[in-house]
Symmetry: C2
Subunit: 413 residues, 2 copies
């Protein structure tokens, strides 16, 4: 299966059908830590909300019929029989012709069936004059009208934001079952890279990918495990990959997937379990050497060493897998329309992704300006590119001034 | 100063001018934990990248002039003098007429000034035939061409994503100075609410706001400190507010700001330090009782008890303050255009925010459908509303089918 280039669409199909990424399982966590997590199961209310008939205004609890016919010049006259305290079961029971002081949110006392607003009344000692009639249930929020006991209030798969967490609190919950966050081991290979934070040996450069990909994992809803740079020999690489597979739900490697004699990663990955390597090279540019394997149930993505290519392939292929493993829908990158600032060429029948920077011209039109992605722009490309333009296999180029769709790699532009 | 309603615009101006929210200070953190944090200072590269002249292809390091005139039928013939290892300083020094095997990323050996691609060569024992001439610096990425030592590569205020963290790793860094995350204490008041997770006493409902606002703080880039529900008496409230001010950079309370006799919060807040309460009621609907104070340098927002009003006022007024305290620009809510599904009225000269749910009609037009926000929809409103439509003070209503701008409270719609 090695070295046969798949089309980009075939690769995506193989990932969907063979990797079959799906949510990993559940975890019960504190509601206060549940921001941005995904609900594991439908949430059914165990109580009526409100749990009692409740006043929606400040005023006086009454029997509605005692106010019938009341108007500005002919107030109904009622006898004040007490105060309903907020947050307590009422100690009062209203008889005909009586009224009880009440505030917003307090329970309606027995015998009362409506509340007149304080603005529509006036009082003198124990006598209350009501200048406007109120109908039965007027200014009362009845038990269970907001949420009924047994009602499904949130559905499995919903992402928890401030509103959803507020709703769960309303039900009295402090814990919630969410999908597990997939743990993704990230390691770099290649004899030319060394880990940041150490002295730079002559002839080497600092590794970028383990850091940028770890961050991209986090951004996608996964939990990265940074494993750093693995020495460029077979035994060390095998040991590192075995460790990565044992300690994570998914593995990302970068480097070591070109055709050079030292590019051992795919061979070792393939030997670690079944079904092994499923995709060995994709007809895309950049990112051609990308390989994808499945070892048991764990996906292994071996991305190119070039930082921009690695991050691009991550976004296109690995990110949706992490999202699905988190119980989220796989989201497409957000896109904006822009005008191509220059002609962009497709590469020899391969699906081509041109990294671009967005800027506005003097007419305030949004332009997509290609950013050099060759070896000579490895690092600064990362910092400059806002997104990419995709050129299909059957199109030779995108012309300058043509409208293009830019898929955004960064949220804010 | 109490009870004079400010217009919404005045309130925003007072917050900008009197609270003067600004970034809190710096913290050095691990690069692996820096996702979504804000860079505290410009980052200047301490090294040239690449740190040496580097091959951008697999092939042979040569003296360019030794290949001049080489073509398909007339190859230049060179003598192979060794191999340049990846990740090591080259041990070779090229003499005229010599070539050395080299891979992508390896340092150019002394004496060489170009690399011929392996596809353009052919070898027999120690003889290399070069079928295409290469110019000086051809296929060489020269020292410092990507980033120069002393060059500013990232600027203070940039939010750190995968690309930026990759760039920092390229410089050899493993730590980075970022702005501190503002700590925001969140507490609820009101005799009718009790904390989730406990038995529900008769006459009470579960508190929503401390949970929804804590989550909203996190969503805005702050760190919430959940202080729960404070008993509804003066001494307890004063103690809780003093504790909140001592342990956080900002305080959010909800409930206890209406005109009822028990609404003590603003009075106590005002007594805790100078300048005290700056905004005491805003001519908005909902959210009128919102008060804003500054105690020393710490903002205190006292939001309404109604969960939807509290969250709305948080978004409009407190969220930008948290963003500025995190070193971020204050962002406006994202908006979408939609058609009003029903007439929406402005409330008595107050800036009015109508909570709406977005949905598509049969013609696939996006509609903004008002969600009931009265007392009778307190909790379900939170779950249903996607955003809000703003109606200015000088406009009586928005008509059905009119185009409206919906500010989104949730990211995904």
């Amino acid at each position: 299966m090695f070295r046969k280039l798949m089309t980009f669409d075939e690769a995506k199909r193989v990932i969907a059908e063979k990797l079959k990424p799906e949510a990993l399982g559940e975890k019960e966590i504190s509601l206060l830590e549940a921001y941005n997590r995904v609900l594991r199961e439908n949430v059914v209310s165990a109580l009526d909300i409100p749990p009692f008939n409740r006043s929606t205004v400040d005023g006086f609890a009454v029997k509605a019929e005692d106010t019938f016919g009341a108007e500005e010049n002919q107030p109904a006259k009622l006898k004040l029989c007490g105060i309903v305290n907020l947050g307590e079961p009422p100690k009062i029971r209203l008889a005909t012709g009586e009224a009880a002081e009440i505030v917003t949110g307090a329970p309606i006392p027995e015998g009362a069936d409506a509340v007149v607003m304080v603005e529509d009344t006036d009082r003198e000692d124990a006598e209350l004059r009501v200048y406007r009639a109120v109908t039965k249930d007027g200014n009362v929020m009845k038990k269970g009208t907001d949420i009924k006991k047994g009602e499904t209030v949130l559905k499995a798969g919903q992402v928890l934001g401030a509103s959803e967490i507020g709703v769960l609190a309303a039900l009295g919950l402090t814990k919630v079952k969410v999908f597990k966050v997939p743990v993704v081991a990230v390691l770099s290979t290649g004899g030319e890279v060394t880990e940041p934070g150490k002295e730079l040996p002559a002839g080497k450069i600092y590794d970028i990918n383990a850091y940028s990909l770890s961050t991209a994992v986090r951004e996608s809803g996964g939990k990265p495990v940074y494993l750093g740079v693995v020495p460029d020999d077979k035994a060390a690489l095998r040991k590192a990959l075995e460790h990565a597979l044992a300690s994570a739900d998914m593995v990302l490697t970068s480097g070591g997937v070109s055709v050079g004699p030292r590019d051992l990663t795919p061979q070792i990955v393939d030997s670690l379990g079944k079904p092994g390597v499923l995709i060995s090279g994709i007809a895309v540019k950049p990112g051609k050497p990308t390989t994808v394997a499945l070892i048991g149930r764990k996906p292994v993505f071996s991305l190119p060493g070039h930082p921009t290519s690695a991050l691009l392939m991550f976004h296109l292929l690995a990110r949706p897998v992490i999202q699905l493993m988190s119980g989220r829908p796989a989201t497409e990158a957000k896109t904006v329309k822009a005008l191509a600032a220059a002609r962009m060429f497709q590469a020899k029948g391969r699906r081509t992704f041109v990294m671009v920077k967005l800027k506005r011209d003097r007419l305030d039109r949004l332009l997509a300006e290609p950013v050099e992605t060759g070896a000579s722009g490895a690092i600064t490309t990362l910092a400059k590119a806002d997104g990419f333009v995709e050129i299909p296999e059957n199109q030779q180029f995108v012309d300058a001034d043509e409208e293009v769709t830019v898929a955004l790699l960064k949220e804010a532009v």
